[in-house]
């Protein structure tokens, strides 16, 4: 009789242990699934229709963002500092992701200076950072459709010598395979942030 009680007690204890283990595992999985640096938007935001061109002269529209995760950064080629630094960080992050066997997001550089950034200038510029980077430019009104929906600010700032710079949002947007904004990385950027969070973000959708 005592032996039977012991067996029952042992069985119950084992079941409890399994239950606790499963709960802990699922809890840890849940914790692991959270990006450490990116801000996940409350609901993915679909982008509106827009018509721009890429660095090859082909149309770049909402549909161009479907079917693959993308990182969108807005800047201009005459920016000597934060724009190339950010593209460099994204290119290095992608290389690290590739080396560790992860899916690699597309990198999209959208020019907010269509006045100076021609298709040819963009082609030279983005090719410097690797073959996996798409440069986008086009008509200002079409550009505004994209930036307004994405919450991207940009404004021309005329300098005392008559030249101009562009003030612009420094955020990197994460666009999911449906072409909707899923998350964002705020500046200052760090290669490790992208490497850490992108597999989590891409696995969560």
């Amino acid at each position: 009789m005592a032996a039977a009680r012991n067996i029952i007690a042992l069985t119950l204890a084992s079941l409890a242990l399994v239950g606790v283990s499963l709960f802990s595992y699922q809890h840890l999985q849940g914790l692991r699934a959270q990006p450490a640096y990116a801000t996940v938007w409350p609901a993915p935001k679909p982008l509106p229709d827009f018509s721009l061109v890429d660095q090859t002269g082909d149309e770049f529209a909402r549909g161009s963002l479907r079917g693959r995760w993308s990182l969108l950064f807005f800047g201009f080629t005459h920016c000597p500092d934060i724009c190339p630094a950010t593209l460099q960080q994204l290119a290095i992050a992608n290389r690290r992701l590739l080396e560790s066997g992860h899916e690699v997001p597309g990198i999209i550089f959208v020019s907010v200076d269509p006045e100076r950034d021609s298709v040819a200038a963009l082609a030279s510029y983005v090719s410097h950072f690797g073959s996996n980077i798409t440069g986008v430019t086009g008509d200002l009104a079409e550009l505004r459709k994209l930036t307004s929906a994405a919450g991207i600010f940009f404004e021309k700032s005329t300098q005392p010598d008559g030249s101009y710079s562009i003030d612009h949002s420094a955020v990197v947007l994460v666009v999911n395979t449906d072409g909707a904004i899923h998350a964002s990385f705020n500046a200052p950027h760090d290669i490790d942030h992208f490497v850490n969070d992108m597999p989590i973000l891409m696995g969560s959708h």
Partner: protein, 146 residues
Amino acid sequence: MKIYASVCLLATVLLGGCAEDPGPLVSITDVKILAPIPGSGAGAAYFNIENRSDAAITITRIDSPQFEDVQMHETTIEDGISRMRRIQSLRVGPSSSVEFAPGGKHVMLMRPATNVAPGSLVELEIHYDDGLLIVNATMQNRLPTE
């Protein structure tokens, strides 16, 4: 001795003084010059300037024989917005230093005067008050192999 005196005289003229220790009172270190990315037309230079004297100095101008247009700029990010503004002059306080670094103060190198490319030696002439500092560095490609 004659050589030391010449160096000391040169330092006096260029750097504003020569104490017993012939080390300069104003010095430039960590010079990094990045080539313009094709399609952009603007390279960048970064360095650290240290003023070890007991008087403030003001950088008034930077020139380079390799670029026709050289300007000091500063990038700031506030509320997520990146802004770049030209710096007309820059004060370096006594016994202090100022860093030109990515994401902050930088020198824009525009309109190459010669056929400069990654690997070229680029000279920066940093004018301050009545002094002048000349530094050279090899221009690097923007994307490192890490």
